[in-house]
Point group: D2
Chain length 157, copies 4
Amino acid sequence: MIEHERQELEQVLSKLLGTFEEKMPFNKLLGVRIESLHLDEVRLRINMREELIGNFIHGILHGGVIASVLDVAGAMIAIANDFTHRQNLTEAERREGLDKTGTIDLHISYLRPGRGKYFIASSKILRSGKRIAVTRMELHNDDNLLIAVATGCYSVG
Amino acid sequence: MIEHERQELEQVLSKLLGTFEEKMPFNKLLGVRIESLHLDEVRLRINMREELIGNFIHGILHGGVIASVLDVAGAMIAIANDFTHRQNLTEAERREGLDKTGTIDLHISYLRPGRGKYFIASSKILRSGKRIAVTRMELHNDDNLLIAVATGCYSVG
Amino acid sequence: MIEHERQELEQVLSKLLGTFEEKMPFNKLLGVRIESLHLDEVRLRINMREELIGNFIHGILHGGVIASVLDVAGAMIAIANDFTHRQNLTEAERREGLDKTGTIDLHISYLRPGRGKYFIASSKILRSGKRIAVTRMELHNDDNLLIAVATGCYSVG
Amino acid sequence: MIEHERQELEQVLSKLLGTFEEKMPFNKLLGVRIESLHLDEVRLRINMREELIGNFIHGILHGGVIASVLDVAGAMIAIANDFTHRQNLTEAERREGLDKTGTIDLHISYLRPGRGKYFIASSKILRSGKRIAVTRMELHNDDNLLIAVATGCYSVG
């Protein structure tokens, strides 16, 4: 893909996913924010706050919060990657494709306690199919410690 | 185990886990409630509400909510099962054991869209070790449709 | 589906999968045999023999053998289930569909040491899509002890 | 760890794992060979041959062979890593530890058809516990194409 095509696709991607907070109420409840959106990597940010704690004594992020933000990061890179397979769609067709994206399965390994002021979830493509995307996700804390890794399988298009 | 021992253990379990909402703020945010607590099966309930929606157009539960409630159900059955391995602990020792329980990994398969008024997460033990428990979890909706299944691996004791 | 249609489909299934030993040399090396083939359940059998041992001291089945036979059982039920979605194909078209079936991911939980004279791998459908099937597999030994469980995701059609 | 300690441990590791072919008959059947053994990375090699084919028409490696070699690579890095936690054991104690190592669960994502003359399975540690190790594995073919990735959870010590 030539550079200006990539830029154009990333602009449409930003436009479509930029409003995901309103369309996905649970992401709003969690406070997930987009840090950066590229066709080959998505980065999301979530700030620690008391409501997201799983274990009050240890003060660590709930495993479900980690699963949630990694799943969102996986779905977004699956969508972004699908853009590269279908370069000539209208915005309306892309919007429709978005709604067809679904998680088939998700495997999370919890590596370290979820301690930190904020966390970055990043995602990449492992398998890039026209119907299925397999993705890898990672969660780092603000000290750049690897907290969790995940693999996701998504239906796309 | 004879019946009155089982009952005694289940009473301690209820006492210790019954207050988990206060100790696990994220469960409170989700609105997870204990439906029943036994040494061989745990059942949790979560009511649908707008904040838990993942996709506004389809009005379905966010995959992260499903992962969260299945993870909690898995952790609880791992704890319950561990009670049966350590029958002569004091309540304080059990409380301590609770805080040591941690998710090692979690694998979720999403089978149907998360539509329903409420959902029941149930969990059972697949592998009952003194250090590790492997658990199976299921999520059904109020029509008893199977929405998702999961396998979890937990460190205990 | 009415009963005689089911029987007809199962006959074609038996014909197509019955020769899988010749087409899948590794299954021959393992010694996997079909025990029963139905549209809703597949059962395979593998006999213990020295070459399949993973740990000589314990004399137990290699984890890779378990993964292999569970994967084959999963692929077969994915194929069988796909028959029910496409009832009017010719045998040649079905044969082609067979070759398109592929494992996307596989998650195995090892529950007990693989001791036994023979083992039965059984598989069922969890999610029945036109492009994707999610399957559950179990391995029991000749004492009917549950040795391992697995979940697989397969592309079909 | 200082350099000569690392070297000493790697020598013991080579001695103990170097004979794994005789102790693990299935690895012999597959033809798995050790390419390199370090405390932080293990590399295994497997040559393509007809008996390991899963699909005769496509001539690709059976998914079970991939699972098997990735599982062996994961178990070996779990053992190697455990050496670093227990630096002062005798060889006999280490040998005993080896036999206690077991796979708890294994998740494999199949990314590309297993075509190639030979394949390299490599493994690293993701979570380094005294009782549990979580590992990441990858399989590349002789063109350095990534064929599959996996995550494993092993009991150690």
